[in-house]
């Protein structure tokens, strides 16, 4: 009889252990440490200093979220075109890189957040003011390869601006200052960071014409991870960290910070 009882207890214990072991793909909440990908090329947003460390708004957000999850982390650089890839092939567990949430991207990655609401904006020379996207009609605007910001003006808004292509934002800013173009348009935090780095007083116009939701990219299917990150973002806005970080990085850039928008989450399923 005792042997039977012992066998039964052993069997039940085995069932419990087996039950606990049946998890699907590992969630970031179960990992010991995280690899977080940030941009190396955007001043004040995600930027690699000469000593190899990273700084910027996105970097601080990544730090805060990892802290809330209670995980040590390492930062790795990621360029705009590789953000989906690093998540899919597992080189990063999380991407915090002004990663705009879109339906197409949702097919390959899961978005927590957004953690920040930004807008498309217009950067001009200090003496000029282009406060409305319609006023870009007939003006020369800079197009950076790989960015769809210009299409959103010319095709989505149907504003007949004259598009001048350049390799990157650095070349764009040089062209703006030497009057080869009249305006640069993209995400406002990117423009704010570039203008501050440039330091010659380029004007951010706060035209705010396309809302852009920057989300935190996670591997598709990690619903518990996404929910945990969303709770961390809620805390970040409730405890005032979000406002503090925005003022720290963009307080002097001319970016309108009078109302700090609370992000409306996408949902994790």
């Amino acid at each position: 009889m005792k042997r039977v009882l012992a066998a039964v207890v052993a069997l039940m214990a085995a069932a419990v252990v087996a039950g606990c072991g049946t998890g699907s793909a590992e969630s970031i909440v179960d990992q010991d440490e995280l690899v977080i990908a940030v941009r190396p090329d955007l001043p004040s947003v995600g930027f690699r200093r000469t000593d190899g460390t990273f700084e910027g708004f996105d970097v601080d957000v990544a730090r805060y979220v990892a802290g809330k999850l209670g995980k040590p982390f390492t930062l790795v650089p990621v360029l705009a075109a590789d953000r989906d890839k690093v998540l899919v092939d597992g080189r990063a567990d999380m991407v915090v890189a002004t990663y705009t949430i879109s339906m197409d991207r949702k097919a390959t990655v899961l978005f927590a957040g957004p953690y920040h609401i930004s807008y498309q904006d217009i950067l001009t020379r200090p003496d000029e003011r282009i406060a409305n996207v319609r006023d870009l009609a007939g003006r020369r605007i800079c197009e950076v390869q790989g960015s769809n910001a210009v299409q959103r003006v010319v095709e989505e808004r149907k504003v007949p601006a004259r598009v001048v292509p350049f390799a990157d934002y650095k070349a764009c800013l040089a062209a703006l200052k030497s009057e080869q173009v009249d305006a640069v348009t993209t995400n406002d935090v990117i423009l704010a960071g570039l203008a501050m780095q440039d330091g010659s007083g380029l004007r951010l116009n706060n035209a705010q014409f396309n809302e852009q939701r920057s989300g935190i990219g996670l591997p598709k299917g990690d619903v518990p991870g996404c929910e945990a990150v969303n709770r961390a973002i809620t805390d970040m806005y409730q405890d005032g960290t979000a406002e503090k970080l925005l003022h720290r990085w963009f307080g002097t850039s001319g970016l309108d910070l009078s109302t700090i928008a609370v992000p409306q989450f996408e949902g994790c399923s």
Partner: protein, 453 residues
Amino acid sequence: MTIVQTRPAPAPVRRSVPGRIRVISGVTAAALALLFAALAAGAWTVGDGLRVIGRDAGPQVVATAGLYLALSDMDAQVADALIMGDSYDRERQRAVDRYERRRSEANQALLKAFELSGDNPAERRTVQSVLDGLGRYERLAAQALLLDERSPHPPGRPPDDVVLLHRQATDLMRLVLLPQAYNLTLENGTIVRQTYDDKALTVPLLRGAVVLAGLLALGCLLVLQVYLARRFRRVLGPALLAATVATAVALLFGSNVLAQDEQALREAKTAGFDSVLTLARARAISNSMQGDQSRYLLDQARADTYEHMYLDKSLSVLYVEAGNLETYHAKVTGGSGEGFRGLLGPELVGRSGKAAMDAYRRFQAADMDFRARAADGQVREAVEARLRPVGEAFDAYDRSLVALSEQHENAFERAIGRGESTLDGLWRLLPSAIGVIGLLVVAGVWPRLKEYR
């Protein structure tokens, strides 16, 4: 035991018989205790799941979605009242009345949400923050309405100072208050998913434990009977036989109740809650879309921003690939309705689903017409379109979503109610089962032990 030990030199055979009876009875009692403990644990676990999903998160979704709708409609009514100008006195009064009604609904929903947030500190902070913000919003909205009344203008864009005041009010509402209400709704989705996943893992384990402990107890009872029958040359012990049957019944009934409640939890989540949550989100986003229409007319400088927001929200409600609003209108109003993604994509099935799809299509068609007038500079006609055909198409669409949601709410309520009443039956029977089986075992064993006194 003490009796056995104090006796000077009892015969080996006589000493071992009561000893064995005691050991077998003891193991039987332990197995029975295990069975009832597992049953109680299982019942407590599913009961907890039913309470969290059915009485906490479910009602909280309704309360917070109601909060969002009331807030969003307040803002939409203010925008409507401001674009009416001097040609719609009666309508303006109606919009202001509706604004007041929505304000009181929002207050009630906030109280309810606060009450239901229990000891969740993040939820409580959010409710408080919305409460604070709402006071500020009301002040700004009242100022804008008053200033607008004092500066008569034709339908369409009000004077600049009104636009600026409205801008402050609507920014506060759209950028700070509404997202918090929305996230509160979403948080309940998280609570339900976590609770459900947790229960879906532990309840089958506990049910397995019930079955194992029950089989063990039955085995012990059988061994006890066989032993007693051999030792005392009796064919049947009626009390022990009855205890065996009662244990078998308790085992079957108990594991069946747990299985049924597992099923009820699954149904409440997948056939009820998930869809209710999705439809609540879709209604919330859609409601702010109609606000974006009025704001598009009201604030010239931001017209493009509001139009883009309208497109963005349309895409999240029902997704087709479209780079601009024109393409979206064409695809939605002309398309077959097959293969749409977005929030409503998987929900628009069956007859009510098709009705909702048609209503959404009519709303978008009305929007197309409304924007064509606005783009042509026919402001008065655009205001008329916004207030009449577009507003009516929106109300019809919203009603179709409510009808769709009600089906799922009913399924949810039914599943939770069924689960709870089944569980109630188990809780009522459990104490008497413990008492009856215990007495029967004692009644079967005690007389035999007495023979050795």
